[in-house]
Subunit: 809 residues, 2 copies
């Protein structure tokens, strides 16, 4: 059993995929409703798939170029195998596949949900949540399956290599596996940004002309942008979010595996080393927990049900909560036993900056996982507080709407900003606490615990847009108002779960990014990331600026595309007679095309900035400044994500508050009042915040750290290069004081003599324009003397640069 534990996540993920196929066929068996409903559903599906296919064509070009670059990198250094390239392609393909499955089922489920809503609310929930389940288990199953199979394959490829120790071979395995994560996350970036631009361009465009200018309700079939709007819900909230969580899930598990490898390295220094799980316990653990999470998600979905046809939002919310918490608690219980089983009772871990290794009981890792779950839940709670109907922050915005759009906007911005306070404190506490318990491995396991039930999380997240679309289908098919009321209940719950899900997503993304950051620093072997160095500090600032620019570009893209959409809708109203009377059909396809083209065009620049900037900084300034850059991106990205998500969510619900009527200055205000119009303006500003730029921050910070980890071998500093150098182990270090006493440092102390700065001796010789420099260095790193000799030739400039780079290593 123990040596075959890798087959456990494989089996569980296959089980998840089989359950997904079963659910998929069940959903498809439901009645799709009238011809009109089927027509609308088909239009949405066609628009969505057209976008996806156009997107995939563009991404294929990106994958080819990136693969070539990755292949080139793999030829440069020993530790990166060329197999990172197929891993990358498979990661990209799986991510696309997961998005595609989700999109197809979501567009199939919308009309079926509307049809089911004709009979009862419980049935409507069953169909829409069934669609969400397909999406959730598709993503989770594919993620775990892809990771496990590739890991198994790479183990077979690399673990038999000679001349390398276990740790180094495992590093090669995990570096190749990082390709899978990089592929997934790259696709997620474009899917999230492209999808976000698509959905908001359509939404803002449809609202500005339809609701505000023409005064027709949401999802009215007379609005030429309405199909594009519904397509947008799918490409943004379903495919975009699916790719995002797929990437997070994979990156979290990968980061934990990489850090697990360092735990094994630290342990190998002592006798505690056992052959349990072929020494791979800490590496396999996150994978197995993820597998168990798939099973727990399946079980959880059975609990999501309501019986009462007169149920309202709270009952639906409760049903979802029960399913969610059941799968979380199941996973947690399983984790306890898995940790107890798979990890040595105590592990030796080195903490950066501390003299001696610490003995960490395995249960500390479980406590770190608990911290992860607790903080995730608390951050969700904070998010819910700042964005929920009836709570003080939203009510403040409502009150401020009475004096116009400007005060509404100011209040909304302030709510978003204030929401960073508790979230960031919780987040800082999570880093601090899980690190104290079990180092950065603890941080990674905290993130893994948060992400373990991704299947369930995503099922809950994805049912919202399905219900939203079902409402659209009902409206456009002139179904009984009762149907719309039922889908509206589901949609409203979906809005809350979407906001809460975003809080959860950014928290787990940030923890994952930090785990990747830790893996990067450990991998490069640099002496931490010291911001008291000017180059590191400069890059911290540059990193802090990237999320701001990224958000600006995303928002601007939405603005641009929405303007185009507005012009087009206005044109159709003007030029096609009979639209407003319902006697002529608007040209829906033109609006779909505008959103598609805008999304594809506008996602390129932010995407490239995200990927190329860390590479440039790493190559030009070196490993430590790149670490500063990563930290800057994370700190600023977390802040801007929380700010934008919560401001957007709060504005949305402030607007919604007017539907039931709100008391302002002693007077009830409803839809259509001036205060409501001000609230609509706020909501429109918040749309790109919460659905485009805000959620993109997740991927920005993860991908930045992932790119750093992948190029880490190129930046040097890794011990596998030691074979090239004439290093010997230091036997003893003696310190002779001026007063005559001699202290021979203990082994432990000598092993920590790390900072005898590199002595570099340079001999220049010059011949015409060619300068040659023979450079030799002596460094003591962790108690080993490292002698290194290099010869550089070239112009004087070039040689100087190479010497500087050599010194900085």
């Amino acid at each position: 059993m123990e040596s075959n534990v890798i087959f456990l996540p494989i089996a569980l993920s296959v089980l998840g995929l089989l359950f997904m196929l079963y659910k998929m066929s069940w959903v498809k068996k439901q009645s799709p409703g009238s011809d009109r409903m089927q027509f609308i559903s088909k239009s949405v599906k066609e628009g969505a798939l057209a976008f996806l296919h156009a997107e995939y064509r563009l991404l294929a070009i990106f994958v080819v170029i990136a693969s070539a670059a990755l292949f080139y990198v793999s030829t440069l250094v020993d530790l990166t195998s060329w197999m990172i390239v197929p891993a990358f392609i498979i990661g990209a393909f799986f991510s696309g596949l997961a998005g595609n499955i989700g999109m197809r089922i979501a567009t199939d489920a919308n009309a079926r949900t509307a049809e089911a809503a004709k009979t009862s609310l419980p049935n409507a929930l069953k169909v829409s949540f069934g669609g969400g389940t397909v999406m959730g288990l598709g993503v989770a199953g594919l993620a775990v399956l892809g990771l496990s199979l590739l890991f198994l394959f790479f183990l077979g490829q690399f673990m038999g290599m000679e001349n390398y120790d276990f740790y180094t071979k495992m590093t090669i395995v995990l570096e190749a596996l990082a390709g899978f994560s990089l592929g997934a996350e790259s696709i997620a970036l474009f899917a999230r940004v492209g999808g976000g631009i698509y959905t908001k361009a359509a939404d803002v465009g449809a609202d500005l002309v339809g609701k505000v200018e023409a005064g027709i309700p949401e999802d009215d079939p007379r609005n030429p942008a309405t199909i594009a709007d519904n397509v947008g819900d799918n490409v943004g909230d379903v495919a975009g979010m699916g790719a995002d969580l797929f990437g997070s899930y994979v990156a979290t598990v990968l980061a934990a595996m990489v850090l697990g490898n360092y735990v094994i390295r630290d342990m190998s220094e002592t006798v505690q080393h056992t052959d349990l799980f072929n020494n791979m316990g800490p590496i396999l653990l996150p994978l197995v927990i993820a597998g168990v999470g798939v099973l727990a998600s399946i079980l959880g979905t059975f609990l999501v049900r309501i019986k009462d046809n007169t149920a309202k939002e709270p009952q639906v919310q409760k049903a979802l909560d029960i399913g969610n918490w059941a799968s979380i608690i199941l996973t947690l219980i399983a984790s306890y036993f898995l940790i107890d089983w798979m990890l040595p009772e105590t592990m030796q871990m080195r903490f950066f900056g501390e003299a001696s290794a610490k003995m960490i009981p395995s249960m500390n890792v479980f406590y770190a996982a608990c911290i992860g779950l607790a903080v995730g839940a608390l951050i969700s709670f904070v998010t819910a507080y700042y964005t929920s109907l009836g709570k003080k922050p939203v009510m403040d915005i409502v009150q401020n709407s009475s004096t116009g759009a400007a005060t509404n906007i100011i209040a909304g911005l302030a709510v978003g900003m204030k929401s960073t306070f508790a979230s960031v404190l919780l987040f800082a506490a999570a880093i601090y606490g899980s690190y104290e318990l079990a180092g950065f491995y603890g941080v990674a396991l905290a993130a893994s615990a948060m992400m373990a039930t991704t299947g369930m999380q995503l099922a809950i997240d994805a049912f919202g847009p399905i219900a939203d679309n079902a409402g659209g289908v009902a409206e456009m098919s002139n179904l009984d108002p009762e149907v719309r009321e039922r889908t509206d209940i589901l949609d409203s719950v979906g809005n809350t779960t979407a906001a809460v899900g975003k809080g959860f997503a950014i928290a787990s993304a940030a923890l994952t990014a930090l785990a990747l950051f830790a893996a990067y620093v450990t991998f490069t072997g640099i002496d931490g990331i010291n911001i008291f160095k000017a180059d590191v500090l400069s890059m911290l600032f540059v990193g802090g600026m990237i999320p701001v620019i990224f958000s600006a570009l995303a928002m601007q893209s939405v603005g641009k595309a929405a303007m185009e959409m507005v012009q087009e809708v206005r044109r159709q109203f003007r030029e096609i007679p009979g639209i407003m009377e319902g006697t002529a059909t608007p040209e829906y396809a033109k609006c779909v095309a505008i959103s598609t083209n805008a999304a594809l065009k506008e996602m390129i620049l932010p995407g490239l900035i995200t990927i190329i900037t860390p590479i440039l900084i790493g190559l030009i300034f070196g490993a430590e400044p790149l670490g500063g850059y990563m930290a800057g991106v994370c700190v600023s990205g977390v802040m801007w994500a929380i700010f934008q998500n919560n401001a957007g969510g709060a504005w949305d619900n402030a607007k919604k508050s007017f539907e039931a009527g709100v008391m302002i200055n002693g007077k009830m205000e409803y839809k259509g009042s001036d205060a409501h119009k001000a609230a609509v303006t706020g909501d429109t500003v918040g749309d790109p915040f919460k659905d485009t730029s805000g959620p993109s921050m997740n991927i920005l910070i993860k991908l930045t750290c992932l790119v750093g980890l992948v190029i880490a071998p190129v930046l040097g500093g890794h011990t596998a290069d030691d074979s090239e150098l004439g290093n010997t182990t230091v036997k003893e270090v003696m310190v002779v004081s001026e007063d005559g006493t001699t202290t021979t440092l203990t082994d432990e102390q000598a092993a920590n003599v790390t900072a005898i700065n590199k002595q570099v001796t340079i001999e220049y010789s010059s011949n015409d324009d060619v300068t040659t420099a023979k450079v030799s260095s002596l460094t003591i790193v962790n108690g080993e003397e490292v002698k290194e000799e290099k010869t550089f030739t070239g112009t004087e400039e070039e040689v100087k640069r190479q010497i500087e780079a050599f010194k900085a290593q």
Copy 2:
């Protein structure tokens, strides 16, 4: 001469103050105009002074409490003298005095400018710029005088102490002098925040009801909030900004002096040590440059003049530019000779993380100063681009106004975000470049060079609000439209200089903060700020959150106060018959009182957060996490400052664009159009951004680092405690390899053996509930063996905590 060079800045600052008095009496001699004009001017002055006095009463309480705390700190550690308390009080007093002088002259100059505008534009410029000059030279003169006199006094007090070396004595001097800066910056914080809240509450309140609801023009005497609005211009843009720049100026010079002391320490290791300037060249240099800057500012003011009465904005701008650049160039030329004279030809400097000290030619310091000026100018240029009329960013916002307030807001937010790109890159380049040239001393001198001509900068900045007020007086006194046209020209130029000045202010504040940060790290003697430690990383996140929360609180305060103002104005319109017909006088004083009370109440919380948070973090987590916190505040603060300032500036000018008419979609749009109304909404949102929360970031980041520097001695780690320890100098360090070879490290290498981690031996003994622990440690720090023994007693918890703290030292 050389030993008395300290009298040079004293003499120059006195000269500056005398010139200020001369200008003040000249302005006062000008005709204050008709009775009506004098009445309005007096109302504004009374309102402004009433606010200042109420503010001072509140601040007096703060000063007393803070003094007591500072006194307590000074009793804890050797390096902090109790004289930091009087220095703090004097700093607070000088800051208040500078604000008071500026406020009085500004409120005297407004009616006189309006009166002068009756005759000609050149005369109006002369009077308003005369008022600005009084403000500028008052601030600069008081700053340099206060710093120089206190420095001279502390030199006399402490340099004669025995048992301390030069460097340690100077540290005590500079630590006491830091009190002056802390006092100035604390007052600046409250003045900036309070003033910012005041001015925008009045402005937004006046605009929302007056312009938008009642449809009466700006500064219309029928608007009850109009006097409060004009008072606001003075307490925010004059007193607030004056206190801000006073604080920056002092902090910049102080930081450069502290870093100069480290240069002297590094130099004292070699023979290069000379008795030039009693060894104080690098410390005195920033003070002398500041003194020369005062003189250059005086000379520059003579060049600000126009002759042509038909001049427009470009001519006025050009006159200001000539004066500004003349004083900058004069200062730069003088700096060249001062650096050559006051610094040794080459200086030995240690760069963190590098093995050996570097030899730095003194001219590198001059080049660093040039970088400071160049980057300051370029950042101003970038700011101007993003906020100026007719440039692409503002035109983008204008275009987006055609589809309503929402797209206007989205476009404005995007412009603000995008403007961080070039600014941050320039700023990172400034850090990198000036550090490469001359270490953190170079960074400090770059900031000093930027700030040297503060007198002139502030004269230019302060003339704007005076002209703005003059326009208000003209409007409320029903003067000839020609007068308003002339003051409008000055006001419009003032808006541009204000936006550019803000770019300059944040750049210099950030460089100053970094210099203070460097001084802090060097002072505490910690091993840099390594964000690969979880506690440091957590605090980096917490620090990054503070500017966001600060901005949220400031904006929310404005929102709250503006709402109150709106209700009051509406009430007056409703309850006082005849206001709109001009037959009844509104109750101006009630609106003034609302702004005053709101500003005083609302400035407390953000102020306390700024001051108390770093103290708590330092005491609870220690020196290095506090460093992480500082860095987080700086990175995030710079980003939010640029974002908010530039978004606000761009919205303002987008709105102004409609005055001359703009072409949107092939149609000319003017004031009163729907697009214009959307632009007014954007401007209202931008008001608190650019005048309250944005500029407060400057002070937040400076004060955070200053508080850190002041409490640094409490956080320990300073070498003056060495006398307590049994440390001896290491004679040699031998490394014996396993292959038998022995390497004796060179002195230089041995001197860099810093990271033999502390070996801590602990002997516990327990007696009833009292645990005693004898702790001894061996550390090698910079080639010195440091043995340390401590005994801790207390409960087990307490002892453990003490041991942890001891280990972390």
